[in-house]
């Protein structure tokens, strides 16, 4: 079904398949049930006064069938969930920190040292070019790259750290089949592997204030060489601006 936006994530292949099977199943059950309801209105044989056992047996048989259906849904859904959530991301994963702020997403790359520098709420100043409050006295923060768009290499696992500065935001990339809340005071993690290059909208899925609908950004999935070139360019800018 092409109601869903094109999928660009590794886990999205199995997810789309499972979702489509689920949708098809419940759609046909829906149709069957509605036909029964209409039938009750139009097909009206004279009912016998004696209660029919057959119908009751059908009732219990259908209930058993539904129990089976729910069990299958539970198990298949759980396997997909467990595959994504119940293991740590591999050590070679690209690490990016996502911060939601009314009404903007920021993406921080740790830079060549692989470590995020210290931040402090008192240093936060978007007008001064420091929306995340990076502490310039911390050497680890000097090479941190802060970007307004998320650029990632195709084919490599990604580990996002989700943060929020002010209120709860919902980090949502429909094309990557990804959604998780960014909750202030409680960093979260989100892992996935983008596989198809291209641009994907990033939205906010948790009402966060008057600018909620325009709190949007972009994920750009590029080839690994292009990704390295982009990182190098950004690194140069960071170095040039260093105090």
């Amino acid at each position: 079904m092409d109601w869903l936006p094109p999928n660009g994530a590794l886990h999205g292949i199995a997810l789309d398949r499972l979702l489509n099977i689920n949708l098809a199943l419940v759609f046909w059950i829906f149709v069957a049930a509605q036909i029964l309801l209409v039938l009750a209105l139009v097909w009206r044989p004279r009912a016998s006064a004696k209660p029919s056992r057959t119908l009751l047996i059908l009732d219990y048989a259908a209930l058993a069938a539904f129990a089976g259906l729910y069990l299958w849904m539970l198990v298949s859904g759980h396997r997909l969930w467990a595959a994504r959530r119940e293991s740590a991301s591999p050590s070679n994963a690209v690490k990016v920190e996502v911060t939601g702020v009314q009404f903007q997403w920021y993406f921080r790359y740790p830079g060549p040292d692989g470590q995020y520098g210290r931040t402090a709420p008192t240093l936060v100043s978007a007008p001064a070019g420091n929306p995340l409050g990076l502490d310039p006295t911390d050497p680890r923060s000097r090479d941190d790259i802060v970007s307004a768009i998320l650029v990632l290499p195709a084919g490599q696992p990604v580990d996002l750290t989700l943060r929020a500065q002010d209120v709860i935001h919902g980090f949502f990339i429909p094309g990557m089949r990804l959604k998780q809340d960014a909750i202030p005071g409680r960093p979260g993690h989100l892992q996935f592997t983008p596989i198809a290059t291209g641009d994907y909208p990033i939205l906010c899925s948790q009402v966060c204030g008057l600018g909620h609908a325009r709190m949007q950004s972009r994920l750009r999935v590029v080839s690994p060489p292009d990704y390295n070139r982009w990182l190098a360019t950004r690194e140069k800018i960071v170095e040039a601006n260093a105090p």
Binding site: W3, A33, P45, P51, L71, I168, S217
Partner: protein
Amino acid sequence: MPQKFKTHQGFGPAGRHSLSRSLFTTEPRTLAILYLYLGLLAVTIGTLLSLAIRIHRTWPAWSFPFYGVPRPEDYLALVTMHGTLMIFYVLTVVPQSAFPNLVLPAQIGATRMSFPRLNAAAFWITLASLLVLLAAFFVPQGAPISGWTSYPPLSGLAAAGPGQGAGMDFWLVAITLFCFASILSSINFLATIFARRASGLTFGRLPLTVWSWLVSSALTIIAFSVLLAAAAMLLADRHCGTSFFLPSGLVLNGIPQPAGTGSPMLWLHLFWFFGHPEVYIVVLPGMGLASSILANFTRRPVPAYGLMVASTLLIGFLGLGVWGHHIFVSGMNPYAGTAFGLTTMAIALPSSAEILTWLVMLFRGRLRITTPALFILGFLSFFIAGGLTGPILAQPALDAYLHNTFFVVAHFHLVMAMAGVFSIFAGIYYWYPLLTGRRMSETLGHIHFWISLIAAYGTFFPMHFAGLAGEPRHYAQLAGPVTSFANLIPVERGITWSAFLLAAAQIVFIVNVFLSARPASRLGAQAGANPWQATTLEWSPTAHLTISNGPYQYGAAAGRKDDFLPQWASKNPV
């Protein structure tokens, strides 16, 4: 039967009450009428707000007369107030307050409520609550914008957005009052059910509506107590310097906030611990009514009475353990996601058992096609349509895509709002003779039903597709800086026109309600004492001290020439 009948409580058909009598009344039927008027006021405002929502989404540049083009915060205020009005003051008040006041004492053969003054106080507190809520529109910066779930810190900090100052305070006070009123009235219902049943009316002879109110009242006491506490804690965070829900390190508009020691996660858990049982509080009375009405209009007993009672109890019990499926994407422990997925799948079973039994009931006897029966068919149709997407959303992996999209909006508007409202309509058409001595017009009832059914599907079914396309809730406009759901505009336009039709169809209902009561209008008909030939005690013409029959002795189960044996009839009438 030309003469007015009186019920054994002596609450005759609603006459004209003087103001002071209404103000100090503890008479359940008068309170029921007051609750119905309150619900009518709330549903009217809530519907107008929803139409404003639809208009703005479809034609974002359209300027409202006397107002102008809505700002984004206006849109969010509309959504917040629409949800709050509908969920609390319509879908909770009517099935859980108006209907039990209307028939609960009668259905159990009670001569009075256990706590009549508590019960009456609950109405006036609910009214006060509604007025406080509506006042939020008129305070500086207007109504709150954080949605009916009011997640902190957005709801905890006045500077987080317009409407989050005085508007949010009014919202919280209104909810606090509402919780208090709901708990009071539920204590009364529970006590009445346990202590004031007529002799012989054992639990095995209770109509399924009474079982529903038993469970929904217990749920109300548990769930609303938690919401009451949460609302009080949030008020304390806002005004008393506590930080139950506020962590340290918050920076709002570039300004660091005072350090806190709490977490917004606490609110998410407390709110949804209330929020999910609330869904069953809304829909359980309708489920009980569906069983009663289907038994009546097919003239057959409820085939699996024990199964239905067990399902009702199980839904209530399991309903307390599924709240986590609302917050699968909050980043909670993945094992918790699995556990809540399991409990949610489990609760689908008793719901399915009830639905399948209703379907079986439809084919055990020939259905009498009356307006109450039609609306119960509509209730079933929506309950199935919305219920079926439940097990999809119960899978955390799939929910992680669908959460907070229009797919969920479609789901709960079908399974809770439309199913709830259709069961309310069924109840009003069915019990109208108790209040007026007359039946509502069948012709207008059929027109009302068919237009509403089609328009409701036209409104809510296409929302599934918008949700699958990834469209989030609470977006004032479809076109954003990066993405655009412009290709959904034809779908959105169709939804809007359907919503107009759905709202317009309710005019037919209003006309029917107010004109059918008057013989001079030539609408409706004289009802007589037991117009539906029902078995349950609210239709009994006199008080009966000893009950010896089950609630649904229709057809062969009546064991006599008539095809029904009322609960108030003596055991061996032949």
